[in-house]
Symmetry: C2
């Protein structure tokens, strides 16, 4: 397993504990991007063969993302970010004045900014309830629950079963879950699952994935249509839109260098035990860190079976800066008094030890 660590050059220099912002970049991704861009420069980027190879890799990427989400390839839309996925869902759903979207008090701007615009544009009400009491807060006008799967602030895991049991459609923000913890969107029974490619999947910035439950897909209008959304791109006004999740594609065709990076990162995980083993290692290490921090007297935020560990600090930005001086990469969480460590399968005992020792010093 320590071999996984060697795939990531940044780990030779620092204790990188911030995959929750952006994952470490595998050396193979550097190589994959170089190869793609060189080929584009030397051979050009047009023609049937180039287009077909590009499309092939894009569909392979969709398949890889589906396997990670635990669903069918036809249920995955390609987006640029979790925010894109949230926007796609909010744009597609026929929400109107008088309707309400229920969200939590621990949401990321990637959920809240789209909700704010929806509110301003259409008069839909946005109501906030505590992260661990969302199901009980559902009201008669609630048409959607939009919240994190794993809270970016504390690492708490939402009780999705309770949300689903309300009968209200559920949109999960999986930014801190996909690639980090074992999950299966079919077992979660959510309607929509929006996630990032650049965090726990170590892909490029500008790549994300959106699961759309098939029963939902065909009935909704494409939120961000383009060449790839219609069955016959040469007759968009006369042709139906795809019935599957391509209907929700935001990216159009991802740039080949971006696809190449994302695929290279998936390969790295496969070559080191696969997602299941890696998730287990990451969550176990995070739990170890939480216990040690608590043992050293730190107030660790209530957390779930996730890869995030947050603890209270007097001056979080100052602590993050001080730790950076020690070669330890953390982040603060504006609006809270927490500092957060993101623990991946690529981290090891030495990273945790370095953090504990630096905090004690």
């Amino acid at each position: 397993m320590h071999e996984l660590r060697r795939e990531f050059p940044v780990l030779e220099r620092v204790a990188y504990l911030n995959a929750g912002t952006n994952g470490p970049v595998p050396a193979r991704a550097v190589e994959a991007v170089r190869a793609s861009v060189e080929a584009q420069a030397e051979r050009g980027r047009s023609g049937k063969a180039v287009f077909e190879r590009m499309l092939e890799r894009v569909e392979l990427l969709r398949t890889r993302a589906a396997a990670t989400l635990g669903c069918q390839t036809s249920e995955v839309a390609l987006t640029g970010s979790t925010t894109d996925g949230v926007n796609a869902v909010l744009t597609a759903l026929p929400l109107e004045a008088g309707d309400e979207v229920l969200t939590s008090d621990q949401e990321h701007p990637g959920v809240l900014a789209p909700l704010a615009a929806l509110r301003d544009r259409s008069g839909v009400e946005v109501r906030m309830a505590p992260f661990d009491a969302l199901a009980g807060a559902v009201g008669e006008r609630t048409k959607l629950i939009a919240c994190s799967h794993v809270s970016w602030q504390t690492g708490e895991v939402v009780d999705c079963g309770a949300l689903v049991a309300t009968g209200v459609p559920v949109l999960l923000d999986g930014a801190q879950a996909l690639g980090a913890i074992s999950l299966n969107v079919h077992m979660l029974c959510c309607d929509f699952y929006a996630a990032s490619g650049q965090k726990w999947l170590c892909g490029p910035n500008g790549m994300g994935y959106l699961y759309v439950r098939p029963e939902r897909c065909g009935e909704l209008s494409p939120p961000w249509p383009g060449y790839g959304t219609v069955e016959d791109p040469h007759d968009p006004l006369g042709s139906p839109f795809h019935e599957d999740a391509r209907r929700f594609d935001v990216l159009g065709f991802p740039a080949d260098q971006q696809t190449a990076w994302a695929l290279a990162a998936f390969d790295v995980f496969d070559d080191h035990g696969g997602p299941g083993a890696l998730h287990e290692r990451a969550t176990a290490q995070a739990e170890t860190l939480a216990e040690r921090l608590a043992g050293a007297g730190h107030e660790v935020a209530p957390r779930g079976h996730s890869t995030l560990v947050s603890w209270r600090a007097e001056d979080p930005p100052a602590l993050v800066a001080a730790m950076a001086e020690h070669g330890i990469v953390l982040r603060d969480l504006p609006g809270t008094s927490f500092v957060r460590a993101s623990v991946g399968a690529w981290n090891d005992e030495s990273d945790l030890e370095r953090l504990i020792a630096a905090l004690a010093a």
Copy 2:
């Protein structure tokens, strides 16, 4: 000027005449991407310094795009494509059932697919009129004219003055214009101008620019909001949205490797005479090609002062394939009987000669 040609490796191998699909990739872009991704892999992609440098480059890119569009930096939104720009405008405008969008008979799927979805979603009618008779086709219910600045099929240039004189808001698809011909959105007087970065600007796939007239911007709801759309990202529900064109940003924060590529391409143009001289050379060469083709008996499509040259062929896909065998990169235009050559400032006499000779053979 022939020095410009040396910046593009693909031109050593083929007569690349398809910037209308994707521009040739400068060697400097390969190097810029490599440097960006290597830095991300070695130094990580988080922390204040990394974020600030990324933002700095993003704003520099916005400035470069604004200069090319002939407008202020605050009037440019960053998108992933021309399609993104069209979607952003159609989503932001308060169009409803009974309204009509007027478009032309020469539009790209990047305009038509978004219009098809708008029609399906909201009951807005989409009416088509001939490309060169749009202004006269405006009716009482026309709330928007959405059409190409330069037709992707023929290279004709729209009479934007006539469109603007109708008093109806105008959205131009500038995919075949920005970076190809001299233009100034303020002088065009359009309300919205959506364009691509990967065609005539030789940037990466996944980068585009949208001009929004300031008077329009503040009154419209952000079409695709995120972290960067709100003034205070730590309080999205309580904070106003940006008043300038960042309100229309689709990309969120572009990936640094994408920004690096786009900036490197802008640098290439600056180092070889700047946009004005390059546009002049490209359009003059296109005119030369059109004349030679007509002189050789080909039926050249009616075209304007642009960089596209289309001519009739019996079997366009077969001709494109045959020319590819000769190392000449063209494209066919599904649904038409034309083959199209895209002539850039990076092309020279030898490319045109090669095409003419191969066609004669």
